[in-house]
Symmetry: C2
Subunit: 216 residues, 2 copies
DNA sequence: TTTGTAAGTCAGCACTTGTTTACATCGACC
DNA sequence: GGTCGATGTAAACAAGTGCTGACTTACAAA
């Protein structure tokens, strides 16, 4: 019947059981997903292209075909993270909402989608282009947080407030990193959303208290 | 910092390979210092043994002679960081004191001694022994913070308090990481102790408010 | 001086790793 | 059928990269 191409059967977690014989787009996507996880978990230089290809169930050479180089794949992964994190899904204009979203972003499995995005922003490849993407994404993300905390967009760019937002971001990143770390620091690593919401709420509120000129 | 090692002409462009004083202890120390900086800045797998040796002005093979392997040198560096951070210099029993110490630890050049120690704790080599050192050091450091915040040592080990201390630690680590990152995220990267003390104080106080049952 | 030993040097092996090159295969269109 | 471009595969290349073992040198005891 179906001339199964056995070497192309890939994902245990992916469901494209259909004979994806020759689909450039799908192959690119597989490499992006696998690369994102590897880069986020192991860092850039620890990640081997053969591992990524193996995870994706794809030949190694295709990384170079579709992304030019390991660097190229990394930048592409970073771009997907940027698009993902840059998406201001809805009007998050309350501190409660920000706290809830942040908690959800952090808690969750260390290799979950959201955590991977954050970790990716901490992984450097030494490339200037990739660094620029990371910097812009981080800056924009912190800016979003200050705005979401209820600050007016214009006032949300003052140096003091940006610093505070970036400290809040540091907390998120630090937690994500420690949780994903191989140290297994307890109770942080195993803490669930319920455990983290209290401390996180305290931190965010202490840093980004509601706008001074407004409600309060 | 260390009493200048006599007849060890290393620092500059090593041209005179003739005058290599034969002091095993000094050589070990040179390798530890160079290794600590490289590992902390670039991560484990990005760091090449030849670079460390070059920084130290020492032959590559001596890494293997004195530390067995690259891994061995990394573990030794980690141990020095543990000893450094584990040193409870004085009775730090006030929140003010903790905030001041934390601020001093964080602010300072990204390649300063103190920051390097923190960054080292985040660098994984994949080795189990190194991971255990990192975990114990991190745990002990967080514990110290909760005690320094004024909690009684016995109550300082409750899960909830430990979690809060570890979140505070996450903030420190996240800031250190972002500051040392090649992204150059502003204003965080260039923020001085004066700028950071306010936000940091807010975070630490929000997380580790003075003991409830005691004084106050 | 001779000799023993610790400290340091040197060349290169065995292996990894990103990349490239040459070839095979599929799908479509004439 | 036959050609051809897109897709995928396998092998190999070139530049590292950690590590080793034989060798040399400084220092000091005998």
């Amino acid at each position: 019947m179906s001339p199964d191409s056995p070497s192309l059967v890939v994902g245990d977690d992916d469901l494209e059981t259909t004979v994806r014989s020759r689909d450039a787009g799908a192959t690119r996507q597989l490499l992006l997903t696998a690369g994102r996880r590897r880069f986020a978990q192991d860092g850039y230089s620890s990640t081997k292209v053969r591992d990524i290809a193996s995870d994706a169930g794809v030949n190694v050479a295709l990384i170079n075909r579709y992304f030019g180089s390991k660097e190229g794949l990394f930048e592409a992964c970073l771009a997907t993270a940027r698009d993902e994190l840059g998406r201001t899904d809805d009007a998050t204009t309350s501190l409660d909402n920000l706290v809830e979203k942040t908690t959800r972003q952090i808690s969750g499995p260390p290799n979950g989608e959201r955590t991977l995005m954050l970790l990716l922003l901490l992984r450097s490849s030494g490339d200037e282009g990739a660094d620029r993407i990371r910097r812009n994404t981080l800056r924009s993300f912190a800016e979003q947080m200050s705005v979401a905390a209820g600050w007016a967009p214009e006032s949300a760019r003052s140096d003091d407030l940006m610093l505070r937002a970036q400290v809040a971001l540091s907390t998120m990143l630090g937690i994500a990193l420690l949780r994903a770390s191989s140290t297994g620091l307890e109770p942080l690593t195993s803490a669930g959303a319920g455990d983290l919401e209290g401390p996180l709420s305290d931190v965010i509120r202490a840093l980004l208290e509601p706008p001074p000129g407004r409600g309060a």
